[in-house]
Amino acid sequence: MMHSTSAKQKCVRAVLLTAIAIAMSASSRASAQGPERILAFVYGVTNYNGSVYASALVPPSVGTIYLLANKDNVIAPRQTQIYFWPITNQFLADWEKMNELVVGQLEVVQQGRLINTMALSQYVIQYDVNDPMGTLGLFTGERAKAKHEVWQKAQDQYRASLAGYSEMLRMWDEQINKLRAESSTGTVPPEKLPKRPEAPPRPTLLSTNPAQGFVISLAAGTYDIQVKRLDGSIQPNSHKRLIVFEPEREGIAYSAVPQQRWTVPEQADEPDGVVYALPGTTLYLQAFRSKRFNAHDYVHMLDPQDQSVWSDRGKWVSFEPATQPPMQVDDGNGSVSARASQPYFVRQLPGGGLGYEVVPFDPNTMEQPTFAGYTLDLNADADYAVSLTGVNGVPIPGSQRRVRTLRTDRTLWLYVVSAMPLALGLVVFFARRRRARAIKIEE
């Protein structure tokens, strides 16, 4: 949890404004009719956020689009019906009612100079579930077609295999029934059981259907875009500012998982952040390679209709786990140890009571690890300095963190100490009374 004055204020304001927006919307719209649809030109953006592709809607009320630099992103010009959804305070598109591609060219202008005119391209996005980040790709044109065909073929093969498997399963079932019928006891000894057919493996390649859009990859900077229709006119509402940004720096982010509440990890993204935990906690630190972006730009890339303004803030975004480098742990008393990232499994405790335990992963008895991380056992006054070490034992930049235990049993003293100005005031008051007499002298 990151504390900041403006974040708290923004939270209160957001709740207040949402309530007002809801009230205003409720007064102007009959709930039985649903929100009013309005025909509008929008951009459907498929943006690369550093690890995956995500989609975002850019309605007419949004003037600026944000995209990552030097990465393939897609801007699709569409005509659709939009409506305002007060609960999320955003415009949504009713794609089912209308989803028309606006055919034309995208003009990209920088500092008044036309630098690119782009035609619509066919594209697909694919990745393998076994290695999403490593295999993610956006393919255009003929390559998109070819890639999609490969995926389609795999899907067809799987369906065919599935059909074969169903047939074999039926036959196996019949065999079992026959053997059972032939047995005097009504059961079939295990050694006589035929082997159950194996289901065909599911295809691991995922793909989008081919779609059309403007595939953009630009260097960091500020641009203006608009759509020029086939008749040469500019599509109304198509002019937008385009801000292309890149990461400010790279580092290591940690997800801190306590033994007793593994479902609620805490993010420690900033290098000067400190991880606090209760004394006696066993803490698991999961490390991720991460990048820091301008928070305003990144948030508006993911959600162009976001209303927060964090122009001075940064936002760390984690991408892939960093499990290879060892972690160096300095306990502050001169003892430095190294530990490796280990896989762990979360096992539900048997019985009626709720509970679980985190145990080391055993490949022989467990299907797959729940997570991998570095372990820290925190004693009462733990104050550890941790970092991931790279080649030759040099700490990886941005991987340093402090891990400390927090004394939550001294709340009363916290308030006592905070009230000390009152004690000081009393001392001053009595000292003053000794020095100065407050009496009334009559004439």
């Binding site: 020095r435 100065a436 007499r437 407050a438 009334k440 002298i441 004439e443």
Partner: protein
């Protein structure tokens, strides 16, 4: 040494069409006590504030110690001590703290002894550690005087320095001011307690309707109003109708008979005591004592201001 400590030249202050101070030429010499008098609303306070540069004159100039205040405001102000009529203090301070604050303000090196001396003289020493908010009005006025005297100023400007004081306090303050004059200080005192002014002032200035109508010594003032002789008669026993008998005398301007005491105002052209005695004897009144009384400052003041008011009023109607 400058000829004048305070010198104003055609000092004027106008508020719209109303002239609160009208071409006042006031001169205060070193080492003298000047009483500055006038009826309520005459312009005394306005004049004093202009002398102290707290009000900007509409016209005219003010010189203090031969300089204009703007030439060396901080330096000149260090040579002046001021007590104004409306008292203002920091109620949360003790008298001693208050004085030490002003001592620091004026850059006094070792003010403790002088502060002790002044407080002792005005019977405030035993109350020095009491918060000023608890002081009576008279004590506050004395404290203001101590504050004004603390830095041994060359010029003292005092507005009602003895108001709200008991008779003992008035005597203390009078003696202190006279001692200051002996030490070479110059004092400009504005007060409605004319008896005190009469006792202490070397010269008097009287301002009426913004104009300085008189500025000279006490003796000159008495001479100016000596056109009236004041006779007091003490009879052995009251006599009926004696007031009418005396009023009929040609040289008598006013008679007051109160039992055995009869007071007459006569023209100051001659000594009319013998004529009065003859008139009394003719009416069967036996005189026990008879004396002439010098016109007091109060009488002089009233005479002058009344005549000035009359002249001003006639002038205003004539316009």
């Amino acid at each position: 040494m400058n000829e004048f400590i305070i010198q104003t030249h055609d000092l004027t202050k106008a508020f719209g069409d109303f002239k609160a101070v009208d071409h006042v030429n006031l001169q205060v010499r070193p080492g003298e006590i000047v009483g500055f008098l006038g009826p309520n609303g005459a312009g005394k306070t306005t004049t004093l504030l202009m002398i102290l540069s707290l009000l900007t004159p509409t016209a005219g100039s003010v010189h203090l110690f031969g300089q204009q205040l703007q030439d060396d405001p901080f330096g000149l102000k260090r040579r002046i001590g001021v007590v104004i009529e409306a008292q203002s203090f920091y109620d949360e301070m003790t008298a001693w703290e208050y004085l030490m604050f002003f001592a620091r303000l004026y850059g006094l090196a070792k003010p403790e002894a002088r502060a002790h001396h002044l407080l002792e003289r005005l019977n405030l020493w035993q109350w020095r550690d009491v918060l000023i908010g608890g002081y009576s009005t008279g004590m506050q006025r004395k404290l203001a005087l101590v504050r004004a005297l603390l830095h041994s100023p060359d010029l003292l400007i005092l507005d009602e320095p003895v108001a709200s004081l008991d008779p003992f306090g008035i005597v203390q303050v009078r003696e202190l001011l006279l001692a200051e004059r002996e030490a070479g200080r110059t004092l400009l005192i504005s007060s409605h307690i004319l008896s005190e002014i009469e006792r202490t002032a070397d010269r008097i200035g009287i301002i009426v309707h913004g104009k300085l109508v008189f500025e000279d010594t006490m003796e000159s003032l008495r001479q100016r109003v000596r056109g009236v002789q004041h006779i007091e008669v003490e009879l052995v026993s009251p006599v009926n109708g004696i007031a009418q008998v005396l009023t009929a005398l040609p040289f008598v301007t006013d008679v007051k008979a109160d039992g055995q005491r009869v007071t007459l105002l006569t023209c100051g052209d001659d000594d009319h005591r013998a004529d009065v005695a003859r008139a009394l004897a003719g009416h069967g009144a036996l005189v026990q004592a008879m004396r002439t009384v010098e016109p007091s400052l109060e009488e002089a003041f009233i005479t002058i201001t009344e005549s000035e008011v009359k002249r001003w009023t006639e002038g205003a109607h004539g316009r």
